[in-house]
């Protein structure tokens, strides 16, 4: 029989490729921890460290006048009597100078309101109907972080328990290995994104990791299901049966990934800005997850012929 996917032949290549991906991810995580200003494995956003994020549109007749962020910051400092509010402030103009986005460390509601009023004086008028402002206290941020880490651990535990009960230990172990592989790679990609593009992760990133975990196991389980069924039905060799099962499930797995990627792509293209990185993380997770379910996890099941 002719296989589209030659697992047995390519076992070493597949495992080697995954090892390289994992190492690159770990490198990103180490680099981020030791060589960046935030000294964390991943660039934690204000959900986890607290802070103030403000996005507001300007009201412009036709074209919004051009301001340099530095000059605006300078004026803000002149106007505001509370100088330390303006430390570590990041200000950007986006969307043809129309959208102002600002990040500062945690401010009280009063301080935040003052900041907006001052901005209105400098670059205004502003359209308050288009305001998007978030303030998160540092304590809450810490708590959110612990919450996210706990939910990740608990759900990983629950998933491993379920597949151990449903399959035998060996299958469970490899399904979990594939799962960790996917999570580490997505985490690593975002570590690199943090290092290179200062992309920050928020609580939706934790959600995406959890969803990826569920999705990745789902994918692997379907293939393992098929392997188990075929091992009972077919009279071919162990390795051949695994290869056959993967090829039988190949269309299903790729089609499923594609149909899940379509809606995510729509969110990336048309959805709200706040969901952009979330959808991207999910998309990456689904791509890596499909790869690991089709190629990596079954390859791990293959026996080396002595």
């Amino acid at each position: 029989m002719k296989y589209k996917l030659e697992l047995i032949k390519n076992k070493r290549k597949i495992i080697g490729f995954s090892t390289v991906l994992i190492l690159l991810s770990l490198l990103g995580i180490f680099y981020s921890t030791f060589n960046t200003s935030y000294k964390k494995p991943i660039n934690l956003g204000m959900d986890f460290v607290g802070g103030n994020e403000l996005r507001i549109e300007r009201v412009c007749e036709e074209e919004c006048s051009n301001f340099s962020p530095d000059s605006v910051l300078e004026k803000l400092r002149e106007i505001s009597k509370n100088k330390n509010v303006l430390n570590n402030i990041k200000l950007q103009f986006q969307n043809n100078n129309k959208l102002i986005s600002i990040r500062t460390p945690y401010l009280s509601i009063e301080e935040s309101n003052n900041l907006i009023n001052n901005l209105d004086n400098i670059v205004g008028p502003l359209n308050y109907e288009s305001k998007d402002s978030r303030l998160i206290g540092p304590k809450l941020g810490k708590r959110l972080l612990t919450n996210c880490v706990t939910s990740l651990l608990v759900s990983l535990f629950a998933i491993s328990l379920y597949i151990t009960i449903r399959f035998d230990k060996k299958y469970a172990l490899f399904a979990l290995l594939a799962l960790f592989h996917d999570l580490v790679i997505v985490f690593g990609i975002f570590s690199w994104l943090g290092v290179i593009l200062s992309v920050e992760v928020n609580s939706l990133f934790a959600v995406s990791l959890l969803t990826i975990a569920g999705y990745s196991v789902n994918d692997t389980v379907v293939i393992f299901d098929r392997i188990r069924e075929n091992l009972k039905l077919k009279n071919e060799g162990y390795n051949e049966t695994i290869q056959l099962s993967v090829n039988e499930s190949f269309r299903r797995t790729t089609f499923t990934s594609i149909t899940t990627l379509f809606p995510l792509l729509s969110i990336i293209l048309f959805g709200s800005y706040s969901l952009f990185w979330f959808s991207l993380a999910l998309s990456l997770g689904i791509i890596v997850g499909s790869y690991s379910s089709i190629l990596l996890a079954p390859s791990l099941l293959l026996k080396d012929k002595a």
């Binding site: 509370n82 009063e110 978030r134 959110l144 998933i159 789902n218 729509s266 959805g271 706040s274």
Partner: protein, 489 residues
């Protein structure tokens, strides 16, 4: 045959019911979709955990205060045992809410210790000076360029600190002034002795403008026993030099003398007035705090989210585009690859969408941005089940089975994979829902509901529709179910 028809009618019935529900019970939109403010309040307790009773007490006080503020459609929920989430729909400025909510509003009445008159007078004078400084600061802030003036205030402040033998710790000048004022208010409170009359004896609070000037005063109405206590206290100090202090959260906000005409009976009638140079806004805030009662534990606002109404409706539009284009992409892909089967899956996806939304309005689930992304993502997962089934049906067809048999065993054999896959996703949703924050919960809820409904629509609706289709002879040709380029695995 009868049973199949039964299912078909049941599905049609569910569909009609969903449409009915959606028309009559509109979906609840989260603040990120309609605009408004959301505040997360943290209850602060130095030692031990916040008990259920304390949580409920805080909840009811905040609830009363919000209602007294006159915000319509506000919504208050507890979160995680020691947090509250307050939603103020519409473009609300969280500033007012924050001022009113954050205060404990513990109201006390205290009588002056003997022999403290000189100290009190000095402190009162200091307080007056600081108040003036604060006013000067505000006007300087408004005119914006008066740096010299601020320098003067700063120097005055230093002088005050020396006189009071107290150094402020705040960094900002305005905060320094407020801190000094609080310090003086507390020092004044220390010259007074507690009585047994407190905010608990209040039954109402109100406010009115003073007739002589523009200032406002706050009116207090005591309960019967409170009125008696008040009469007794005023009687005991009437005509003496001792003053009566009204203390809010440990800071004296007003000190009053009681005239000698009350020496016999005290002030009766069960009401009192606090006139302490209140602005209209301050008087209203105090009124709201007193009406709502005092908080058993202090709270802190740890998170605020404000989203403008325009942005909210933009978010809805964007999500709608994303959801519809996602569905169209998926639909085209499915019909292209699976032909008749694909068409069946599109029908069952549409049903899936309607069932989901109807359930949201029934439960009810408040729809937020992450919630919508959960819904959109669950479309992908719902299609997955269909693909699993269709691939199995095709295999059966390749093996030379009849259409009916292939369909039946296709569904049967895909069953275990579908259930396994859905359960792992459900597990994640369950954990997310239990441990997640507000936003995360929305995502977990919609994804979880989606996964459950997907079990029904993919296993049942797709099957019923498919069987209905195959009752027509023209739709029974095998090649309509196989890919155009008929390759074999």
């Amino acid at each position: 045959m009868k049973r199949r028809q039964g299912w078909l009618f049941f599905i049609l019935f569910l569909f009609t019911l969903s449409v009915y529900l959606l028309i009559n019970y509109p979906l609840q939109l989260g603040l990120d979709l309609k605009g408004g403010s959301q505040l997360t309040l943290q209850i602060i307790k130095e030692e031990g955990k916040v008990t259920r009773d304390e949580l409920e007490a805080v909840n009811s006080v905040i609830d009363k205060r919000v209602n007294n503020l006159g915000v319509s459609e506000s919504n208050l929920q507890t979160l995680g045992g020691d947090q509250l989430i307050l939603e103020l729909p519409g473009e609300q400025n969280p500033l007012v809410a924050s001022r009113v909510l954050g205060k404990t509003a513990l109201l006390e009445f205290r009588t002056q210790k003997k022999g403290t008159s000189t100290d009190l007078k000095t402190l009162q004078l200091q307080r007056l000076n600081i108040k003036e400084l604060i006013e000067q600061y505000s006007s300087a802030e408004k005119s914006q360029n008066d740096d010299n003036f601020l320098k003067v205030i700063q120097d005055d402040l230093k002088e005050k600190e020396q006189e009071l033998n107290y150094t402020s710790t705040s960094k900002d000048l305005y905060e320094k002034l407020i801190e000094i004022k609080k310090y003086v208010d507390k020092e004044i409170t220390n010259l007074f002795i507690k009585t047994d009359l407190s905010g608990k004896d209040l039954i109402n609070a109100g406010r009115r403008q003073e007739q002589t000037n523009n200032n406002w005063e706050v009116l207090l109405t005591f309960s019967n026993s409170g009125g008696e206590k008040f009469a007794e206290i005023t009687k005991s100090i009437a005509g003496t030099n001792q003053l009566l202090a009204i203390v809010l959260d440990g800071e004296s906000i007003s000190e009053a003398s009681v005239g000698s005409q009350f020496a016999n009976t005290g002030i009766t009638g069960g009401s009192a007035t606090i006139s302490g140079n209140f602005s209209a806004e301050n008087a209203r805030e105090l009124e709201v705090q007193l009406k709502g009662g005092s908080l058993p534990l202090p709270i802190e606002i740890v998170e605020t989210n404000t989203i403008g109404a325009l942005l909210g409706s933009n978010n809805i539009l964007k999500s709608l585009y994303a959801a519809i284009s996602g569905l169209i992409f998926v639909g085209i892909f499915m019909i292209f690859n699976y032909r008749i089967l694909g068409f069946v899956s599109v029908l069952s996806l549409v049903l899936y969408g309607f069932f989901n939304l109807a359930l949201y309005s029934l439960i009810p689930v408040t729809l937020t941005l992450p919630g919508i992304s959960g819904l959109i993502l669950s479309i992908g997962m719902a299609v997955d089940a269909n693909i699993l089934i269709f691939e199995r049906i095709r295999e059966e067809l390749y093996d030379g089975n009849t259409l009916t048999r292939s369909i039946d065993s296709g569904f049967q054999r895909a069953n275990s994979s579908i259930v396994d896959g859905h359960i792992t996703t459900l597990l994640s949703c369950f954990v997310l829902f239990l441990l997640g924050t507000n936003f995360v919960k929305g995502f977990a809820a919609t994804l979880g509901i989606g996964v459950l409904i997907s079990l029904f629509t993919s296993l049942n609706c797709s099957k019923t529709i498919l069987r209905f289709f195959t009752t027509y002879q023209s739709l029974r040709q095998k090649n309509l179910y196989l890919p155009r380029n008929n390759f074999s695995n």
